[in-house]
């Protein structure tokens, strides 16, 4: 899922300072699971902003709403009937949701309330780690299900670099060497022969190198 982090309240206060009627718009998907932009976070941020502006002697209307998804036209339509009641929207969705809402409501200022971080997994309570960089051509079949693109700082594709020590990356002791993990897994799978095969040069045009990406599917286009 998409992992996001809450922006500091001080930063959001500065962004909304000049608006009087503000909608805090949450998203029920990834940002709810990573506890950054769901209904609960919407309530907390709205309450905090209300208290701040009251103590500053400013009367602002701060409303709350959470959509099923902000990256779908259908759900974004839900707020169309009320959109004229607001001067700005603080979206707690990922960057996709913020942009989609901005495209839909052209004249409405859209402010992000979270920093979108990565595609990752919830490894432990309060710990989310990156697992995918959406490179567009998956190599996981060859690497024992461990991604050298997202988990190796250098994105090397044929074994570890010289910086790998005792299974850790030269970035620091907290970062596993992705290739050490791959080798361990290939050993467990009894597939070390695959490790010996030299990977062909990866086509990075499906990654960001080819510019913004699009998926077109005629089969589902009705």
């Amino acid at each position: 899922m998409i992992i996001a982090e809450k922006k500091p309240i001080e930063e959001i206060i500065e962004e909304v300072r000049n608006f009087d009627r503000i909608l805090i718009l949450g998203c029920n998907e990834c940002v709810t699971v990573c506890e950054a932009g769901g209904k609960k976070e919407v309530e907390v941020l709205a309450s905090a902003l209300r208290m701040y502006f009251i103590t500053q002697g400013q009367e602002k209307t701060i409303s709350e709403h959470t959509l099923e998804r902000q990256c779908d036209h259908e759900y974004l339509e839900e707020i169309r009937k009320d959109i004229d009641n607001y001067d700005a929207i603080v979206s707690l969705a990922c960057g996709v949701g913020v942009q989609f809402a901005a495209e839909k409501y052209l004249t409405m200022p859209l402010l992000p309330g979270v920093n979108t971080v990565c595609l990752g997994a919830n490894e432990d309570r309060g710990l989310w780690t990156e697992r995918c960089q959406a490179c567009g051509s998956c190599v996981l079949a060859r690497t024992g299900g461990i991604c050298p693109v997202s988990r190796c700082a250098k994105r090397v594709l044929n074994g570890p670099c010289g910086g790998s020590t005792n299974g850790k990356c030269e970035l620091g002791p907290d970062t596993d060497c992705a290739w050490q993990l791959i080798i361990d897994r290939l050993k467990a799978l009894d597939r070390m022969d695959d490790y010996e095969k030299v990977a062909p040069i990866k086509d990075w045009s499906t990654d960001r190198a080819g510019g913004p990406r699009t998926v077109t599917r005629e089969d589902v286009n009705i």
């Binding site: 609960k40 309530e43 907390v44 309450s47 905090a48 208290m51 009251i54 103590t55 002697g57």
Partner: protein, 122 residues
């Protein structure tokens, strides 16, 4: 030992039920202070309820600091159900602390706004 009358007790099935928004709403509505009283750490019937509450109280305190209300207005205490006198002692401690800090800036600002509105209407 008598307990002060200036606070309201809100019962929860477990302190693990409390959420940050419950604490913030109390302050939004004009509370001057809030304290959560949970079971002794390690004695929670649901194992982690009081630990969860402590984390949430800490988060609420941080937010209250960020918005200028004051994180010291919220606190978590732990005691066992048999410690009535200690409950009273904590209550007195908290009430005295809040009295020392004065009314919440939210309440003062709300009162000021209400006065201004009344004056404008008149």
């Amino acid at each position: 030992m008598k307990i002060p009358t200036s606070f309201r007790i809100i019962r929860l099935p477990c302190t693990g039920k409390i959420d940050i928004i419950h604490i913030l709403r109390a302050f939004e509505k004009g509370a001057d202070g809030l304290y959560v009283v949970g079971c002794m750490e390690g004695d929670c019937h649901f194992n982690q309820g009081n630990f969860r509450a402590r984390k949430r109280v800490e988060q609420a305190a941080k937010i209250l600091d960020q918005v200028g209300v004051g994180g010291e207005r919220v606190k978590m205490y732990n005691l066992s159900s048999g410690e009535g006198p200690l409950f009273a002692q904590y209550s007195i401690e908290m009430v005295n602390k809040i009295k020392e800090m004065g009314p919440s800036p939210v309440r003062l600002a709300k009162q000021k706004m209400a006065k201004q509105k009344k004056a404008t209407a008149a």
